[in-house]
Each structure stands twice: as structure tokens, then as C-alpha cells.
Amino acid sequence: MMARMPEASPNAVFVARGLTKVYRMGEVEVQALRGIDLTLYRGELVVLLGPSGSGKSTLLNILGGLDAPSGGEVYYLDHKLTGASEIELTRFRREHVGFVFQFYNLIPSLTARENVAAVTEIAESPMRPEEALGLVGLGNRLDHFPAQLSGGEQQRVAIARAVAKNPAVLLCDEPTGALDSATGVVVLEVLEKVNRELGTLTVLITHNAGIADMADRVIRLSDGRIADIHENAVKKPACELAW
């Protein structure tokens, strides 16, 4: 998996070149990505914006090592992800990537602390679960099971779980999609805080344009292509967002 990254910018975390993805849905071929060139940098907060079917989830899954592109190349630091084996990808996710999902995907049989511990137990230099939960403001709900937490709290546990291993990247797929806006703002504040305090490259998918204002960069996808990349001169704090 060791390889030279084509563009040796010292701050580049992900470099994607000519990414295409074709899904076969039975008889029909769906072009999910039609040639993406993209570089993501250390410490950025990037929002991937686009309507459903624009390819943003596919792109995120490829970056996270959950899916392989049909064409093109992806590099993570000096690792080439394209062509890596399943075992290598598992190790990549385990060591470098934190995921936050729309439906939280907590383990119902484990408490908040244990959900985080499930990940820290297999990580190399994690923070303590309590610390991670403190970071997301749940230091007082350590021993609650998911069933005892609200949706927003569950999502914050999921964020704590994602960041506890000190990942280089945090990939969030519609993290506020299942939440009302007030709760969603609380979750975004947590993401903002993590990004600021830990300097983790955070990629956030949404189809909600209102969220884009909190990003360093906004990448707009449309029909499998990058339609527009926009840098926010002034980032709006999450607490000021509304939708």
C-alpha cells in the first residue's frame, strides 16, 4: 500500500485523481462518479453538498475505504487506497478513519462508554473513552445504554466513538439527517469543536445548504462531477446556523 503521492503537498491528506464509479444495478449501469479530482488538507472542515444521487456518499465511502472506485486513484498520505486488499482497508479504517452515520449505528448492547471503548480497545493510541465523551458533552452519561439516550445524545456518542481513536480523518454522512434542527446544531457544534481542538480533517456530507456556512471549503457535487468548490472567507459558528 506504500506509494508516492502524485502531488507532494505537505498538508494533503487525501488526493483523488480521475475517480469514476459505475454501479451495476442488475441490467442497468449507474454512473455514480464521472471523474473526480480532489485534494483534502489536514485540519480542514469540508462540506460535501449535493442533491441525492449526486455521488457524495459514494465519494465518501471510497475515501473511507468502504468501497473501491471503478477507475482513477486515491491516496491517503503515502498509502494508495485503490487496489488495496480487504485486510489492508480494514486496517486503514481501524487506524486512521472515524465514521459518523446518519442513523448513529451504536451497538445497543453496549453503554456509551463501552461503545467508545469497543473502538479504543482496537486502536493504537486512543484517548480514554471518558475523555472522548467529555469532549462531546456527555461526561455525565457514561453508563447509559443507547436505549436510554435521545437521538442527539446517541449521535454525540457516535462522534465520541469516531474521534476517540484520534483518527486523521472524520467522515460524517448526513450526521444531522435524522435529527431536528435544534439537536442537529448541538451535534454540529461538537463536530466543529473536534475539528478545531484536535485538528482532524472533517468531511461532512449533507444536502442541507444551510450547514455549508460552517465549512472551510464547500464542494458541490452534481451528477457525479464536482460542480463547484467554494472557500468560505468567514466561517459561521455552528450555533448560528439554522434551517
Partner: protein, 789 residues
Amino acid sequence: MKALDRKLFRDLWHLRGQVLAIAAVIMGGVATMVMSLSTYDSLVSTRDRFYSEYRLADVFASLKRAPEPVAERLAEIPGVERLETRVKAGVKLEVAGFSDPITGQILSLPDVGEAQLNRLYFKRGRTVQPWSTDEVVLSDTFADAHHLQPGDTLAAIIHGKRKTLTVVGVAVSPEYVYQIAPGAMFPDFKRYGVLWMGRNALATAYDMKGAFNQVSLTLARDANEQDVIDRVDAILADSGGTGAYGRKDQFSNRFLSEELKQLRTMATVFPAIFLGVAAFLLNVVLSRLIALQREQIAILKAFGYSYAAIGAHYVKMVLLMVLLGVAAGVALGTWFGQGLSHVYSETTFRFPYLDYRLQPGTVLIALAVSALAAVSGTLVSVMRAVRLPPAEGMRPEMPTRYRTSLVERLGLQRWLAAPSRMILRHIGRRPLKSLLTVLGIACACGLMMVGNYQKGAIDFMVDVQFRQASREDLALAFIDPTSGRALHELAALPGVDFVEGYRDVPAILRFGQYRHRAALFGIQPEGRLHRSLDSRLKPVAVPPGGVVLTDYLANDILHVKPGDMLTVEVLEGSRPVRQVPVLGITRQYLGVSAYMQKESVNALMREGNTVTGAYLAVEPGSEAELYARLHDRPRVLGMVANKTAVQSFYATIGEFILFYNLVATVLAGAIGFGVVYNSARIALSERGRELASLRVLGFTRGEIAYILLGELALLTLAAIPVGFLVGVGLVGILVVAFQSELYRLPLILTPENYAMGASVVIVSALLSGLLLWQRLGRLDLVAVLKTRE
């Protein structure tokens, strides 16, 4: 086809692995039932047809000797329809190239015309020529055992004289469907044979010219059997009659009836156990399977489908699985049933033909039981799902409430990593479901133990019978009651280590309304060879003056206990009727017996030191010479060597047991695998999302497999000891159900039984684990994040 029906077939196709596993469970239960019941029905129908086509008599009587005119008086008894007299002779036989003692019986065939009763079915050759002097017809068992064909010869010692006989035919008789030498425990086709000869030739050789010693008759439709028997006995009393008896006491028919009764029990108990367990498993598995369809049910409701339509949809779905299983079970059961019927008719019963029949009722019952179990399991789940408001059903299920497990509350959590805690909490969260899974797997283990139980039990029975109770090498019978001095002559023969005499008399034992026709055995009170055993299988002396009965004879046939007075009607000599106290109960697994001290029987008969036979301990290696010398003694009639008896027993039933074990193993294995695989698959469906999330978080396949398979392993391990208990319980039911006059099964389970039971579970679990491991490799990580449950 309606959309819902299309969904039905797609769902079935999608679930095909589980559908097949469920069908396998049903197949196991149904096949056992179809096999057993069809075999029973076939044998009963074959027996009835054979009896009526070949005119088996209704009443039989043996006597010492009566001149032929007595027959006319017998025929005049009201209620007698047809009557035929015969000559019957006990003989010793010699077949070239076979040195063991062979005993047999020769029956007369009329010289003029065909036999009126107990006719022969000829498999090969022909009947004897009228007035022929040396032609015989052989029973097919004996002919087959020695490969004798029409045209071959053999010798018989009839009444002390050696006579060479020519085989002209090989036949089967309704009177000898079950052939077993008098006094023997098991059939031995090589050492016991039935032959038929022309009446004149046999009477000449046996000194019965113008006389008969056997009579059989059929009854008119409205005749009273007991009246006729009493009148026959009255007429034959002066001719040494030993008591007329009806079909139910006829030797072959009695054994056949007992065997069929056993088979009937087997046809009820085994399928009840198998089908019952299968139904239980079906119920458990299906209710979990349907519970997984919660969201789909909610969507159907949202579309506006009625409860009934949704219920019908799922009922149809499980009925298709049931139909598949029943069809496979009927096919397999029929195949096994034909095999089993043939094994029976090869090894135990001799019928000229076999009417294999499968009653439609059998299939209907199998279908009804399976369908009921399946549908009830389904409806409970469907009802639960249907009761939810559609919107709630479609929402992701709230995370289920978990709590810390007992192990952790005991403070052991620091030994457990998160995956282990997940296993324990998952089991603890739905204890009932976990318990049902454990029970289901345990049932599979128990079934396997039942299926394999017989071999060990039979070994144990044989060991008790031949190493503890009947320890003689050779049992021999004299032609007539003989002076006890004959024992000294036997003891003096070379090769004889030790001799014990016995005196047996045919008798009817009565207590209240209960009666039993049996031999009363007078043995040495503290015999070294032939002993009676107490309930702990320790030898005990037979006390003087009274009778000791086999436990089954005392408890289940005569309903007597020690201290009761038994009425003994002796069927020999002056036919005394005496009151005899019951002094004890003896444990015996094979057959039933009534024992007294030999001297007590002599006293009962008002005779001196008289014996009817002897038990011999023989020096190893000297058997052949001893057999030859005994063979030459005219007063020695029958000889049964224990070693060869046991060998022939195993040869006879070995095939049967092998067949049965194979069938039981296959069926229990199918059920076992069906349960374990389904439990595992359902666990995967229930937790697929959770496991995929963990995979996304960077867990390896091995690590998530540990969570899923660890639970399966834990439940499987817990199920094994429970399965042993289930097995012991099921075998207990079997033991009680199978008690009969022929044998009682001991509640003995060997280490192999336990090993077989455990291994079906373990092998099924390993196989299921392997299949699951492959599935875990194909988990769709992306899809699982997009979908809710």
C-alpha cells in the same frame, strides 16, 4: 399472479437456505412417522392376507396320541367349521458340512388332496408326491440358511431312527411366520427348521399309523372360541392333550403379535417424539423469522392490506415450506419404510409376499401436525407485528434495552472485552429466546441419543441374559420327562464340566381375571449356570415351595405381588391344578418366566427326581465332539448353544439395528442441522447491521465473527448438557412405551450415545459457523449504513 404472491416466491427464494433447513426439520419428523406407520400397516395387511389366503387355523391342540376316529368326535363339536388332524414330530437334523446340533419339527401333509388348513405357499419346487416315503418340503428360512434346493438331501433322526430325506420344495407357512425353536430366545434359522412330509411316511416313521397328535380347526362365524377349546380339551383329556389354544396363544402368531405391537408402539412413540420436537423447532424458528419481517408488515399495512391478508400471506409462506418438508418426508419415509419392511421380512417374519402400503391418513396426520405447528408459530409473530401502527413499524426500532449481565454485576467485567460483553448481554437481554434456542439444539441432541440408544441397550440385555442369568454353554431338552439319573450320564461325557438339571411343565398361570400360558421352570435353587437375578441384577436363590416371577409377568401380566397365591393349571400328565404362593420377583429383560425349585415342581407333579432337560457347562474346544455324542442319544431332543444363539441373534437383528441407526442418525442429523443453522442465520439477520457497523469502524471479520459465533458457541455448549437430559428423558419414555412380553429395554445409555448426541450438535454448529463465516465476508458495509433495520 398477484404482487403479494410474487413477493412470496421471491422471499422464499431469498431465504432458500433457511427454507431448506426448516424443510429438513419437517422432513425428519415426517419421514420417521411415515416409515414406522407404513411399515406397521404393511406388515399387518400382509399378515391378514396371508392368514386368510392360506387358511391359518383358529384353534390348535397337541396331544400324545389319539386314534383317527377321535377326530370325528372333535369335528362334531358345535362351532367347528373345518378340522384337520396331523402328525407332528420333534426331530434332530443333519445337513452335510454343518456340525452344530440342529433341531426341527416335521409336520404331516395329507397324502390325498390338499391340506385344508395351514396351507403352504411354495417359493420353489413342489409339494410331496402322494404316498412318497422320503420327500420333504423345507421352510424357506432353513433352506436359505443352508442353501438347500429341491433335489438336495438331508438326514433326520425321527423317533431314534435315521432317515435320509430328499428336498422337493421350499415353502412358507402362516403357522410359522415367526420361527423360533421352543425354549430358544431368538430365531436361529441355521439351527432350527420346520419340515413337511407325507402323512403316511411320517406316521410310519413316528409310530403314529392310524393316529394323530396334532389337531387344528377353524371356527364358524358365531362360534365361541373358549367353548370349543373346553370341549376339545374334554375329548382329548384321555389322549394326553396338553390343552387346546386359540390363535392368540399360537406360538408364531403370539410372537408376531408382540412384535407388531412393538412396531405399533414404535410407530407411535418415535414419530411423536420426532414430529413433536420438529414441530417445536419449527414454531421457534418461524416465529423469529417472521419477527424479522416487521418492517415489511408495516409497509403492507400502510398500503392498506388487511390483517387477514397479511396473515394469509405469511401463512402461505410457511405452508409452502411445510409442504416442501412433508413431501420430502413422505418420499424419504416411504423409501425407508420399504427398506424397513424388507429388513423385517428378511430377518424376523417370513411372509411369502409383502403388501407395502402407505395410508393416506398417515400423510394427512403428518401434514396436519407440521402445518399446525408452523402456522401457530407464524401467526403469533404476525399478530405481534400487525398490532404496531404502520408508522411505528417503519421507524427504526428503538435501540433495545440492555442491561449489564450477571457476570459483570458480579464484578468480573474487567476480564471481559467489549465483544464478550456484547455476547453476554445479548443472551441476557432475551433470556426466553436464548432458552428456546438452547432447548431446540438440546432436542436435536436428545433425538440423536434416542436414535442410537438401541444398540447399547441390546448389548446390555444380552450381557445380563447370557453372562449373569443363563450362563450355560448348552441347554438341552429330553424327549420326555426323564429320571434325574440321566444327569450323571451327561456329566460323565467328555468335555462336560458341569451339569444342572431342570424340570419344566407347560402350565396356565392364573390370578383373578389374569392368565398367562407359560412354562413353569424348576431350576436348581442356587444354580451356578441358570440363575435368577434380583432388581439389582445380583443372583438370588429361588426359595422352596413357591414361584418366582419375572418382574414384567408379575406386575404387568398377572398383577400379582409376593405373598399372593397363584393358580397353576398344569397342562401335562394328570393336569393337576394347584395354588402356589408367589415368593419373589426376578429381573429379566428378555422374555418372561416363572421359576420354582426343581424339587418343588417335582412335588407339584407328585413325581420323584425327574428332569426334562439340562444346562451344561462345556470345556472350550470340545463342543464338536460333545454335539456328536449328544446327537446320537435318542432321548436328547433339542439343543441350544448360547454362544451360537447370541451370534445368530446379532446376525439377525444386526441388519435391523444398522438400518434403524442409520435412519435415525440421518433424520436426527437433519433436524439438528436445521435448528442450529436457522438459529445462527436468524442471529445474523438480527445483528447484521450491528456487525457491519463494527466492520466499518475497523473491526476485522474475525473480530465480528467472534461476537456472532461466540454466542452460537456459548448456546451450543449450554445445549449439550441439556440435550443429555432431554435424551435420557426421551429414552425413558421409550423404555416405558416399549415394555412387552418379548423384551423390556433397560434404561442404559453408553458413552457413545452421549458422544453421538453431542457430536450432532457440534458438527452442525461447526458447519453452520463455516457457512456464517462466508456470509460475514459478504456483509454489505455500505448498504447497512444507509438502511435502517
